[in-house]
Amino acid sequence: MGEQRDERKLLLQQIDQYSFAVDDVKLFLDTHPHDEEALAYFRRYSALRKKALQAYTQRYGALSMDTAKGDRWDWVDTPWPWEGAY
């Protein structure tokens, strides 16, 4: 159980990191929409984020409605992020 939690945390940490890269470059692109290097960076981290979100959803439940599979409504029993030890 502990090992599974660590793995879940690690995957979530990855999602956080990829998502942050996307969040940050998104703002940069808003004021530099033609920057090729930033566009390539966006594509790279956006793809990594989507892959990590899919991997997480497969094993630990959906983080958003877009990734929810709908076979089981685990949205109601997976932890909320403010609970800590997330």
Partner: protein, 200 residues
């Protein structure tokens, strides 16, 4: 349209409750330079932006501020979760507790409730962007003030992250302002309100 993602922008895992610190940090939830004011400011101002690029900046930063609001709420929640009545009495948290128990409510550190008078939506993009740049600096100073009060690394890490974002947002708003000026008459940027006087 907004969609929720069930995670924080930056993780918050505080092990040691501390009601005194919660009372201080709460100000960034609902205080004069807090995250709810920031989010409402940008998300409200964007309707009057005549430039799509600037609307993008306001939308995306306003959205990120909602994620920051959630982080600050999580910090306050974890700092007050499972407090005993004795701890509440000893920490000076009793005034808040009487009205809200340990629920999270938007108020300033000094107890003043959140109010929309803490920000403007002036309907003039030059005016609004100047306010936005000042707002990011005021929030940065507040985080600096909070950081001086902290010694728990579990609280310091997310607060440092939030402080850093204020600086990035300041930079982006500055670039947005430069974009607006580039669209205007460089002999007098203030000859008219591009959202009102130039009908489109």
């Amino acid at each position: 349209m907004f969609q929720y993602e069930k995670r924080l922008q930056f993780p918050v895992n505080i092990k040691k409750p501390d009601a005194k610190v919660a009372q201080m940090i709460m100000s960034q939830y609902g205080g004069p330079d807090g995250e709810i004011g920031a989010s409402l400011r940008y998300l409200s101002q964007r309707f009057a932006s005549p430039y799509r690029q600037v609307s993008a900046v306001l939308t995306d930063i306003g959205t990120e501020e909602l994620a920051h609001l959630e982080m600050v709420g999580s910090i306050v929640h974890q700092l007050t979760h499972n407090l005993t009545p004795e701890q509440i009495k000893a920490s000076g948290f009793a005034d808040y507790y009487i009205d809200h128990t340990t629920g999270v409510w938007p108020q300033a550190a000094g107890g003043v409730p959140f109010t929309a008078t803490e920000f403007q939506s002036k309907g003039d993009i030059i005016t609004d962007l100047h306010e936005d740049m000042a707002a990011e600096q005021k929030a940065r100073t507040t985080y600096d003030n909070i950081l001086r009060m902290l010694d728990d690394p579990d609280i310091i890490a997310p607060i440092k992250f939030l402080r850093e974002r204020e600086i990035v947002h300041f930079q982006r708003f500055g670039e947005a302002l430069r974009y607006v000026q580039d669209q205007l008459d460089c002999r007098n940027f203030y000859s008219m309100n591009p959202a009102f006087d130039k009908r489109r």
